[in-house]
Symmetry: C3
Subunit: 334 residues, 3 copies
């Protein structure tokens, strides 16, 4: 895969080599993201950050990643006032807006819209989420986090065991992550969901074709020797009836007690965020906040690294970042 000048639209563009190259560059971005070093390699470059569907964290993460490379950000949020809402085609919008920046990150509520936009764009487009379809940078940051967490434990993605919990039918993140994991070897999947919200067959098929092993269950049971526990939210409106929802209510939540009962003490806890802290949802309890294996905020931190890597590679500067190092002067806690 040649990154320079390419669109990043789908996880299906990535082979294992491409992933490893992104992760290597992401790792090199760490001192810049931690403000130990400062680079200005993208001085003068402009990111068009087009969030036709609002999203605070993904939008800010893309913008921050570009700033950390020295570039500027021109931002658009919301769809209601845009020309798109007044009948302009995605092609026209893309032709026009791609004349205003060097690269575009785009979110849009409609499946396929980002790819359609990319066809009209004169500059690289990175998909920041197109409805139910794809959110490739989320999948990459999830996988990067898994690799990094496992490395800290002395292991690797090859041969690992991942438990995926919650709404596996509609959860875009677990589908994309599963596809990426099919590029690796000997992964074990434990898929825990309500029957009505089980992992789709085409993902199961991909897992099988990759030679991976999997177990499907509809409740937490016994000891799950997973390296990674990837938790997702269940929205009750996904069930065919409220009776179904009631039957499962609270059975796929994770708190410290359930964690201790079913998982190993080293199992890493992940979640795509945001998690709903309201009592009726609460898929990941706040009593896990002090658990050192709770990796959910390391995931969002890693998102900056992965997006920095994609920007640098797509704009072809990943090998010269360090040439533009400057001193960092200000105070940072982290």
């Amino acid at each position: 895969m040649n990154f320079k000048g390419s669109h990043i639209l789908s996880v299906s563009q990535f082979d294992r080599d491409a992933i490893e190259r992104v992760f290597n560059v992401a790792h090199q971005m760490l001192p810049y993201a931690k403000r130990q070093k400062r680079t200005t390699v993208l001085n003068g470059a402009i990111l068009g950050n087009l969030f036709f569907e609002p999203s605070t964290r993904t939008r800010v993460s893309f913008g921050t990643a570009f700033n950390l490379l020295g570039g500027e950000v021109r931002e658009t949020t919301g769809l209601s006032n845009s020309a798109l809402a007044k009948g302009e085609s995605l092609y026209d919008t893309a032709r026009v807006l791609s004349g205003y920046s060097d690269i575009i990150a785009m979110r849009h509520p409609d499946s396929g819209s980002v790819a359609e936009f990319a066809q009209g764009s004169r500059i690289p487009v990175i998909n920041g989420g197109d409805g139910a379809n794809e959110h490739p940078t989320q999948a990459l940051l999830d996988l990067y986090t898994i690799q990094k967490e496992l490395l800290d434990h002395g292991s690797s993605i090859d041969g690992m065991h991942i438990a995926m919990i919650g709404d596996l039918k509609y959860g875009r993140t677990v589908h994309s992550l599963s596809k990426l994991l099919c590029l690796f070897n000997n992964v074990r999947f434990t898929l825990i969901s309500p029957k009505e919200l089980a992992m789709p067959t085409y993902i199961i098929d991909a897992i099988e074709n990759a030679g991976h092993k999997y177990t499907i269950t509809h409740q937490f049971e016994g000891s799950v020797d997973a390296d990674i526990c990837y938790q997702t939210r269940i929205q009750e409106e996904r069930f065919p009836s409220q009776e179904e929802a009631n039957q499962y209510r609270g059975k796929f939540r994770l708190n410290q007690q359930i964690y201790t009962k079913h998982f190993q003490s080293k199992t890493v806890i992940m979640h795509p965020l945001p998690r709903d802290s309201r009592a009726e949802a609460n898929e990941l309890d706040n009593d896990l906040n002090l658990n050192p294996n709770l990796a959910i905020f390391r995931q969002t931190d890693n998102g900056v690294l992965v997006r920095m890597a994609l920007f640098a590679m797509t704009l072809g500067v990943e090998n010269i970042v360090t040439q533009f190092d400057r001193e960092v002067l200000w105070h940072v806690n982290s």
Copy 2:
């Protein structure tokens, strides 16, 4: 006209000399806009980009133009949450906000509002559109595009033939463009519109007073040997009745077949954008997208150049831009 420190509020501020100076500077901005060169002449300067009426393309174009000169952008969009909506006067808003930046670009839904704001401002204000009144940077980018396209054909604005099509009564852009063309010599106008949406008398008078020639028709007919075909949208609600609207429906649209039938093969097609791609509107068909004379996206590209020129001239740095050249490192397709 002295640009340094001046407001840019109306096309009526410009004489031919001023226009030519802006266009010369705009032309010098091309290597920066194309990322062949990078300047930081406005390093540390701040644009207050105040879009009290939302507009993605004009807002981003202003912001990009300022970034490309090395400056920063602080942006405000929407009116509903502003102090203006809570009874603050435009004078107060201007006094306050002009303390936060070096120059302001402003759009507002009310005619005359930007000029009123400018009276309270301590820094230059560029009108980014004040309702039905003025949008001078659109008129300048239209005229700049005409000059550039004609130059490519070996001709010039003096002596050219322009066809204006569609809603010539309410179309702000064709009025402003016509006023600017009155500063040039021997322009021929062919004005094609429904009877109810004909060019207003005061514009016709200005065209006559400038010694230009014009023809008024209410349909495409015969061969129009225009150098420029400037197409605008007709909104059906502009007609006195739906019956009137129905009578004209589809008669002022342009597609490849109509273009071939009525225009020369070199006629340049322009439109202020956005164009409505929905079937019931469709004033400029997508089958023209591959026509090399379709200049609509060159118009928006040129808008960046013209806005860069106005910023540089208003802030008095147009002669030193090149002193702050830096290398460009990242990949650009265009």
Copy 3:
């Protein structure tokens, strides 16, 4: 008080020494804010400007202050589309967003929300207003303005006489300002408000405990030899009934005639802005606009200085700002 790495949440954090240090740094920021000098001390630093409750002037003032120190700004406005609105806890929001920037300025409609957010944040948080609770940078810019205006008159905060007028019950700004004034010596307060909107007892107690003198009245009367006249708006819906409101209507407005009748010719006029210019409100008449003692726009200008000071001190760069001076090239009127 140690600023480096600290949150700025409340005026109660400040003692007199801390205030004087902030004001000294703010004073040193003047040549940068006036574009006589340019610094890039915060080059590469990112401000997370989180305005979950919209506010044009405070938001832009924070952003401008950060830009003037050479930093970048990533902005979020509105609450409705945020994860907070979808049930995410302030803790989670803070943990995530504090991974995207070096410092955060935050406004939120709920009292106490900014402090709660700060507990989850890994970087310093500056309170930009949390509902009815606190808006410490407004209080600091008010006090800084008072000091500066009095210095121009050869006097100082110690020993001054301030008249506070209007809604003293609900006016957050007069409460915070009063608390800060309790750190100084021998201040005289003249408190002029409708009976129903009088200064709360706990503020009066603080004024007494500080050894200050005060007078309470319910109308303008006689000659008020105040150095400062701090005017606030009265919103009629604050009264228990429309009859009460009618009784006071127009009695706490200030115009040139009332000013001349009751105040000294040197009395400085302040207001937290925005002022409502509509006839039924009009707490500060436009006929005062040419009065040289009208300090309301000097207040907002000073807000940039105070915010620059707080950013520099919180990030620990206040002593090296001048080491990063550059030439300023562009034109400024002011």
